[in-house]
C-alpha cells in the first residue's frame, strides 16, 4: 500500500470517469482466502517461481533474507505457488481465522 492513495477519499466522478493508477491496492483480497501458503524457509532456494506465477503479486522476497514469503493482505489462497515450487517448500494449510 505504498504506491497509491485512497481513491475513496473526496470521491468525485470526473468526465470520462478518470481514476488514478495503482489504486486497487486499497482492496485487500486476502480476506477471500480459505487456505494459506506457508513456507519452509530452510527448503526455499529463493528461485522466485512462486513470485513469477502468483496472479496477485503476493509471493515476494522477504527483505534482507534469502527466502520468499507471502503478502497476506492480497494472497487469495489459490495454491499455484505450492504447485510451481520446485523444492516443495510451500504448503497450503487451512487458515483458522
Amino acid at each position: 500500500m505504498s504506491q497509491s492513495d485512497d481513491p475513496y477519499e473526496n470521491l468525485t466522478i470526473t468526465t470520462g470517469a478518470v481514476v488514478e493508477p495503482n489504486t486497487s491496492r486499497v482492496n485487500k483480497t486476502g480476506s477471500w482466502r480459505q487456505f494459506k501458503p506457508v513456507i519452509d524457509i530452510d527448503a526455499c532456494i529463493a528461485c522466485g517461481q512462486c513470485d513469477t506465477y502468483c496472479p496477485d503479486q503476493a509471493a515476494k522476497p522477504v527483505e534482507g533474507e534469502d527466502y520468499y514469503g507471502f503478502d497476506l493482505d492480497y494472497c487469495k489462497g489459490c495454491g499455484i505457488c505450492e504447485e510451481v515450487c520446485p523444492t516443495d517448500a510451500i504448503e497450503m494449510i487451512r487458515e483458522v481465522k
Partner: protein
C-alpha cells in the same frame, strides 16, 4: 508447530517492486488471464497505453474508483479495443506531424500502444474492429487472452472454445456433446491481413511470452499475439492447477506455440512425445461428459485428429 505455521506472516516484510499490474484486482483465485496481464505489463513497462475490451480483465481491474493498472489505461466497450487503440495511435501520429520534436510513436523506446481483449471480444464480437485496425496498418500490438469462452458473463461458448466443451450455450446433454466446433485459427487470420508479426504463447512460459511482447513492441505496424490463459471457474478445475493445465495444453498440441513473420511460420516450440489430448481433457469438469459413452469417445477422437492435423501442418513434433 502447527500453530507456528498458522501464525506465519511475512506481510510487512515482503518487498514489492513497482508493479504495473497491481494486487487488489478482483480476478478469481488462480486466474490465468490475470497472469497474462502481469506479464504484458512487465514486458511493456510504464510508457504504455492499454486499451481493454469489456470482459473479465477489465471488470476485475477497474471498478470505479480503483485501477489495478500502473500504465495509462482506457476501458472501451466490448467490441472496439482495436479501434480505440487505432485512434490513440492516429492521434499520436498527428501530434507528431504537427510537432516533429514531440514523442515519436514509431520509435520503439517512446510509446507502446497495446490493445487487450478476451477471446470473445477479439475473435468474435470485436473481430471487425480488429480486422480494420490490422488492415489499416496501425502501430498497435493486439493481445488476445484466450480462456476459451465468454467468462465474465457466465461461460458462453466462443469461437475459441474447444470441441466437446460444455458451456452454458453449448450444454452437454442427451441431445448434445457440448461445443461442436474446433478453435478458430486467429494467428493465420491475422497473418493473412499482412500483419508482420504474429505469435502464440502460453502463461505457463512467461519468459517466452514476454519476449514475444517485447519483440512485437519493437516492430512498426500491427502485431497480433494470442496467449493461452486457463480459467478455473469456466473450465471447472482446482485453482492451483492453472499453470499446469496451460502447460498440458501445449504438451498435447491443443495449443501450439509458434511465431509467424510476414505470413510464414518462422519458429515452432517443438514437442517431443506429444501427449494424447485425453490427458488434458480429463483434468476439467467441462469435458467430464466425454468420458461416459460412445459419442464422447468419438468426440475425443475427432479432437485428437484435428490436433494431429495441425501438428503436421506446423511441424510441431520434435
Amino acid at each position: 508447530m502447527s500453530s507456528d505455521r498458522q501464525d506465519q506472516d511475512f506481510t510487512d516484510e515482503v518487498e514489492h517492486g513497482e508493479e504495473l499490474w497491481n494486487p487488489g484486482h478482483r480476478a478469481c483465485a488462480g486466474c490465468g488471464p490475470a497472469l497474462a496481464m502481469k506479464y504484458i505489463t512487465e514486458a511493456a513497462g510504464p510508457n504504455t497505453i492499454v486499451t481493454n475490451a469489456t470482459g473479465c480483465m477489465e471488470v476485475v481491474s477497474t471498478p470505479f474508483p480503483e485501477s489495478s493498472w500502473g500504465t495509462s489505461y482506457i476501458h472501451n466497450i466490448f467490441e472496439n479495443a482495436a479501434s480505440v487503440a487505432a485512434g490513440v495511435e492516429a492521434a499520436y501520429q498527428s501530434f507528431d506531424r504537427r510537432d516533429p520534436d514531440h514523442l515519436d510513436v514509431s520509435d520503439e523506446d517512446d510509446l507502446n500502444i497495446i490493445a487487450i481483449g478476451g477471446d470473445g471480444a477479439t475473435a468474435d464480437i470485436g473481430f471487425r474492429a480488429l480486422s480494420g485496425m490490422m488492415e489499416r496498418g496501425h502501430d498497435v500490438t493486439y493481445v488476445m487472452y484466450d480462456n476459451e469462452a465468454y467468462m465474465n458473463t457466465g461461460v458462453q461458448r466462443s469461437s475459441q472454445t474447444p470441441l466437446g466443451a460444455s458451456t452454458t450455450t453449448s450444454p452437454a446433454g442427451t441431445e448434445s456433446i457440448g461445443n461442436d466446433t474446433n478453435k478458430k485459427d486467429m494467428a493465420s487470420i491475422a497473418a493473412d491481413h499482412g500483419v508482420e508479426y504474429v505469435a502464440t504463447a502460453s502463461i505457463s512460459n512467461p519468459h517466452d511470452f514476454k519476449q514475444k511482447v517485447e519483440k512485437a513492441l519493437e516492430i512498426d505496424g500491427p502485431k497480433f499475439l494470442h496467449v493461452y490463459s486457463p480459467c478455473p471457474v469456466g473450465w471447472s478445475y482446482e485453482s492451483s492447477k492453472t499453470v499446469e493445465l496451460a502447460e498440458l495444453a501445449v504438451e498435447t498440441g491443443l495449443f501450439p506455440v509458434f511465431e509467424m513473420e510476414n505470413g510464414e511460420i518462422t519458429s515452432v516450440n517443438k514437442i517431443s512425445d506429444r501427449k494424447p489430448v485425453r490427458e488434458w481433457l480429463e483434468t476439467q469438469g467441462r469435458f467430464k461428459h466425454l468420458f461416459d459413452g460412445e459419442e464422447g469417445e468419438e468426440t475425443i477422437e475427432a479432437l485428437q485428429e484435428w490436433i494431429d492435423g495441425r501438428a503436421e501442418d506446423l511441424g510441431l513434433d520434435a
